[in-house]
Symmetry: C2
Subunit: 250 residues, 2 copies
């Protein structure tokens, strides 16, 4: 049997958000590779080898998956969320491009998943219901100046904004700087959502105004969504509903 690589998204955490096609790929695999907490979401079974690796070794993990597929194995690379959004798909294709030519002709497929911003948006209402952008706030792999430029242009465009990796342990100051930039560009009442561990038993969604937001409201498990200038909050007895209307008046 010829080998393949499937890069599959496991969604934000809940089993009920994993697509049937991702489940089917895992059921057909001989090997699953990925970052430790994601591989631990896969049930062991006879005939399946689980390969856990640490964070920040994405290229080595990708090359390992491609090597195994070259040898005829059926390999699933697991990501949380969607593999194409700040996850493993780009790392696999970087490894393909840098690797031996036969890797290009391997059977490689990406299976989309529920990325964190969609789950966070759904938990809060529909803050991404109009035009928006999606920015990784980590400056591990890009200069901070580019993040700052994109924040200012996104505010000028009046996009809603979804932020991945708002605050890492190693660089906690980045999110404080991002909030300061947003306060220069947006009104103090601009809606901001902190959605932590969405779809898990620890889910916590906090809705506040930009003026009231503090860096400590985000951690590594938090998705931050900033509304556009038109984003609205519907107050009610339970958690408020946040949504961005479909229309913009001329």
């Amino acid at each position: 049997m010829s080998g393949w690589v499937v890069i599959a998204g496991l969604g934000p955490g809940a089993e009920a958000m994993i697509t049937p096609e991702a489940t089917a790929a895992i059921d057909a695999a001989t090997d699953v590779v990925g970052y430790i907490p994601y591989v631990r979401r896969i049930s062991p079974r006879a005939g399946l080898t689980l390969h856990e690796s640490d964070n920040r070794v994405e290229l080595e993990r990708a090359a390992h998956a491609l090597e195994m597929a070259s040898e005829g194995r059926r390999v699933v690379v697991v990501s949380s969320g969607d593999p194409g959004v700040f996850a493993m798909a780009s790392a696999v294709f970087e490894a393909v491009e840098a690797g031996p030519p036969p890797w290009r002709d391997l059977d490689i497929r990406v299976l989309p998943g529920i990325t964190a911003m969609l789950a966070a948006s759904a938990a809060a209402g529909a803050p991404l219901g109009h035009d928006f952008c999606c920015i990784n706030l980590s400056d591990n792999l890009k200069p901070w100046a580019l993040i700052e430029k994109r924040l200012r242009l996104a505010a000028a465009a009046d996009f809603a904004m979804a932020f991945y990796n708002p605050r890492s342990k190693s660089r906690p100051e980045g999110f404080a700087k991002a909030l300061a930039i947003l306060r220069e560009c947006c009104a103090p009442e601009r809606v901001i959502i902190f959605a932590r561990a969405v779809s898990t038993s620890e889910q916590a969604v906090r809705v506040t105004a930009l003026a009231e937001a503090t860096p400590e409201m985000a951690d590594m498990r938090t998705m931050v969504i900033v509304g556009s200038s038109l984003t609205r909050v519907i107050a009610r007895e339970g958690a408020p509903i946040v949504y961005t209307p479909r229309s913009v008046e001329a």
Copy 2:
């Protein structure tokens, strides 16, 4: 039993991309409402009433769902893709805000789905693997000047861009104007992907350069993705792989 409204995303077309939680909600429903082609994706069964409605009556459909839930019915509003991305969730919350106060305290949940840009990105490789934005090119509900402004600022930010509704029958000229703006702002070799009917039997993905793109390459079933300046194409025997690397050099 008390009523509820679930706004569920059915993904881009393939049954295997519908999340188990969306399927479970449909299985528990007494009523499903939605645009005709989406409701036709639901299997009829005893105890379930299917309510099909036409396009452009989103607010009436939302109000109908909320009314039925007020009367104790269990209602699923179906969207294609993700209900929070240019789909029914914002329409339901607009109806809640404009409607009678008791609607605010109804049990209303949004279940995320695989939105078209994630499926299109996966079919092409990983073009959305770095910062990106997402713009609805239809000017039905917003002025064209705002679309133009957002396109120019997104190009200045060097975002990859995902375009929903690139070309409608009633307003075919919008996408030609968008291409002209992008040609002013981006190099001629900028990668552009036309992903039609992704995940269905009619799926067709075309990868070309901005200089070669024509308005006729998109129709109402096409998702258009424009790469950032760093997006790469890996040529190979089969369809090329398009991806955006994770890193930007300082």
